[in-house]
C-alpha cells in the first residue's frame, strides 16, 4: 500500500472528495497546514504596517491506497487541483508497510 499525500489549495477540497468518491475511494484524512514553495505569499496590512505572509494556508490530504490504485488516485487529484498557476501543490507518495483497521483488526488491503 502507498500513502498519497497531497498538499492542495483549500478550495478544491470539496471537489476532490467527490471525485475520489466517484472512484470509490472513500477513506481519507485531511489536515490543515501552511505551506510555502515557489508560490509567492501576499501582503497583509495591519495599522499601516505591511506584513508579508510567506506561508499560505493549504490542505494536506492523506489517502492510503493499494499499490494498484496509486495512479488513478494521482490523476484524480491532478484533475481537480490543477489550475495551472503557481501554488497548485504537490503529491508525495510513500510506502506503507502495514495497515490495521482498529475496529476489526483486519490488516492489509482489506483494512482500507
Amino acid at each position: 500500500m502507498k500513502e498519497i499525500q497531497a498538499i492542495i489549495r483549500p478550495v478544491v477540497l470539496e471537489e476532490l472528495k467527490e471525485e475520489l468518491s466517484a472512484l470509490n475511494i472513500r477513506g481519507l484524512t485531511i489536515g490543515q497546514v501552511m505551506g510555502c514553495g515557489s508560490q509567492k505569499g501576499w501582503t497583509e496590512f495591519y495599522r499601516g504596517s505591511e506584513v508579508y505572509m510567506n506561508v499560505l494556508p493549504k490542505v494536506r490530504v492523506s489517502i492510503v491506497v493499494p499499490d494498484a490504485r496509486v495512479d488513478e488516485t494521482i490523476n484524480a487529484i491532478i484533475k481537480v487541483a490543477r489550475t495551472g498557476e503557481v501554488g497548485d501543490g504537490k503529491i508525495f507518495i510513500t510506502n506503507v508497510e502495514r495497515v490495521v483497521r482498529i475496529r476489526t483488526g483486519e490488516e492489509g488491503d482489506d483494512a482500507l
Binding site: V11, M34, E44, V51
Partner: protein
C-alpha cells in the same frame, strides 16, 4: 425639556448605535472564515458613512419641511437650525439635536441590515456606493413618508412605531432584490456554507436584543408608560419567537438549535418593531409566536425553492418579519394604548387601520424594490459589483482588505 426623557433617549441612542457592531458580529459569525472581516466591515463602515450623510443631508431630507409628501427640504442642511430646543413636531420634551441623533442610529443600522444578503461576493467599493445611494433614494424618503410631518403614509394613517417598515421591510426587500441581481455565491446548492463561529453570532444576538430596548422603547421618545409598554411587548415577542422557532425545529428536525433560538429571537424582535407601542401584551405573544414559523418557512423552504441566495437571511428574517409586523399592527393596534394611531385594529372591528397598513406595506415593498433595482443597475454602469471568481474562492478578507481575521490564531508564530 425633561431631563428624564433626555436621559432616556441619550442612552437609547447609544444602545441603537451599539446594535450596528452587534449586527456585524451576528453576521460575521455566520460566514465562512475567509469572509469574516469583509462581512463585519460591511455593517460597520455604515456607522461612518451613514452618520456623516445623516448630519449633512439625511436628517433634513427625512424630517425637514415636507415636499409633496415624499421628502423633506434642505432647511436643516448640516443640522443648521437644529438646536437644543425641542421640536414639538417630533419630540416635545427632548432637545431637537437629540431627536436628530437618535434617528441617526436608525439611518445607520438600516443599510447595514441589507448586507446580510450580499456577503461573500460583493465588492466593498460597490457596497460603499450602494449604501450612499440607497440612503438617499430609499431610506430618507421612506423615513419621511412614514414619520415626517406631511409624509404621505403618515397622512393616510399608516403607523410604524419603531421602524418595522422604514427599517426592516425596506431593508429586507432591498436585500432580496440586490441578492437576486448579484447572483448566487459560487457553489450555491452544492457546497454547504456553514457558519464559522456560532458563539460570535450569539454575542451579536445578545447585543441586538439589549439594543432593541433602546430601539423600540426609545421610539416613545419619552421615559413614560408607552416606552415601558414597548419594551414589554418587545421582550415578550422575542421570547415567544425564540420558543416557537425551537418548537418548529423540534418538530421538523427533532432538535432545537442554538442558532435557531438566536434567529427566532431576532425574528421576533424585528416583527414586533412596528407594533411595539400599539398592541396589547397578549397580542405580542401571538405576534412573536407566528413570527418564527413564517420566517422559518421563508428561510428553509421559499429560499430553497426560488434559489435566490439571501446569504444570511436579511430578507427571510427582517423582510418577512417586518411585513408580518406591519400587518399585525393593522390587526391588533389599540388606540387606548397609543392614540397616535387614528383607528383601532381589525380585531377590534375597524378596517381602516388595517387597510392603511396593508397599503403602506405594499408601497414600501414596491418603493424599496424599485429603488434598489435602479441603484443597482446604475452602479453597474460604472463598476464591477461582484468580485471575480478567483477572489471569491480566495475569500473577501484577503481579496478586498488584505487582512485575515485570525492571522495568528493557530499560534504558530
Amino acid at each position: 425639556m425633561n431631563s428624564g426623557d433626555t436621559a432616556f433617549i441619550i442612552i437609547s441612542s447609544a444602545m441603537v448605535l451599539f446594535m450596528t457592531p452587534g449586527l456585524a458580529l451576528f453576521y460575521g459569525g455566520m460566514v465562512r472564515r475567509k469572509n469574516v472581516l469583509n462581512t463585519i466591515m460591511s455593517s460597520f463602515f455604515v456607522a461612518g458613512l451613514a452618520a456623516i450623510m445623516w448630519v449633512l443631508i439625511g436628517y433634513t431630507m427625512s424630517f425637514g419641511t415636507d415636499i409633496g409628501g415624499i421628502i423633506g427640504n434642505f432647511q436643516w442642511f448640516g443640522l443648521n437650525g437644529v438646536t437644543a430646543d425641542p421640536n414639538p413636531d417630533y419630540a416635545a420634551t427632548i432637545p431637537h439635536t437629540l431627536f436628530a441623533t437618535y434617528q441617526m442610529m436608525f439611518a445607520i443600522i438600516t443599510p447595514a441590515l441589507i448586507t446580510g444578503a450580499l456577503v461573500e461576493r460583493m465588492k466593498f467599493s460597490a457596497l460603499f456606493v450602494f449604501t450612499a445611494l440607497w440612503s438617499i433614494v430609499v431610506y430618507y424618503p421612506m423615513a419621511h413618508m412614514m414619520w415626517g410631518v406631511g409624509g404621505f403614509m403618515r397622512e393616510m394613517g399608516a403607523i410604524d412605531f419603531a421602524g418595522g417598515q422604514v427599517v426592516h421591510v425596506s431593508a429586507g426587500i432591498s436585500a432580496l432584490v440586490a441578492a437576486i441581481l448579484l447572483g448566487k455565491r459560487k457553489g450555491y446548492g452544492m457546497t454547504s456554507y456553514h457558519p464559522h463561529n456560532i458563539p460570535l453570532v450569539f454575542i451579536g444576538t445578545g447585543i441586538l436584543w439589549f439594543g432593541w430596548f433602546g430601539f423600540n422603547g426609545g421610539s416613545a421618545l419619552a421615559a413614560n408608560g408607552l416606552a415601558v409598554h414597548a419594551i414589554l411587548t418587545t421582550n415578550i415577542s422575542a421570547a415567544t419567537a425564540m420558543l416557537s422557532w425551537m418548537l418548529v425545529e423540534k418538530i421538523k428536525r427533532g432538535k432545537p438549535t442554538m442558532l435557531g433560538a438566536a434567529t427566532g429571537a431576532v425574528a421576533g424582535l424585528a416583527t414586533i418593531t412596528q407594533a411595539a407601542g400599539f398592541v396589547p401584551v397578549w397580542a405580542a405573544i401571538i405576534i412573536g409566536g407566528i413570527a418564527s414559523p413564517i420566517c422559518f418557512f421563508a428561510i428553509g423552504y421559499v429560499k430553497n425553492k426560488f434559489k435566490f441566495d439571501d446569504a444570511l437571511d436579511a430578507f427571510g428574517c427582517h423582510g418577512v418579519g417586518g411585513i408580518i409586523g406591519g400587518i399585525s399592527t393593522g390587526i391588533f393596534a389599540q388606540r387606548s394604548i397609543n392614540s397616535y394611531a387614528r383607528w383601532d385594529g381589525l380585531i377590534f372591528g375597524d378596517t381602516r387601520l388595517f387597510t392603511a397598513q396593508v397599503i403602506s406595506t405594499l408601497i414600501t415593498i414596491v418603493f424599496a424594490a424599485v429603488g434598489t433595482f435602479v441603484i443597482y443597475k446604475f452602479i453597474s454602469l460604472f463598476m464591477n459589483i461582484r468580485v471575480d471568481d478567483r477572489e471569491e474562492l480566495e475569500g473577501l478578507d484577503i481579496a478586498e482588505h488584505s487582512e485575515s481575521a485570525y492571522p495568528s490564531f493557530l499560534g504558530m508564530d
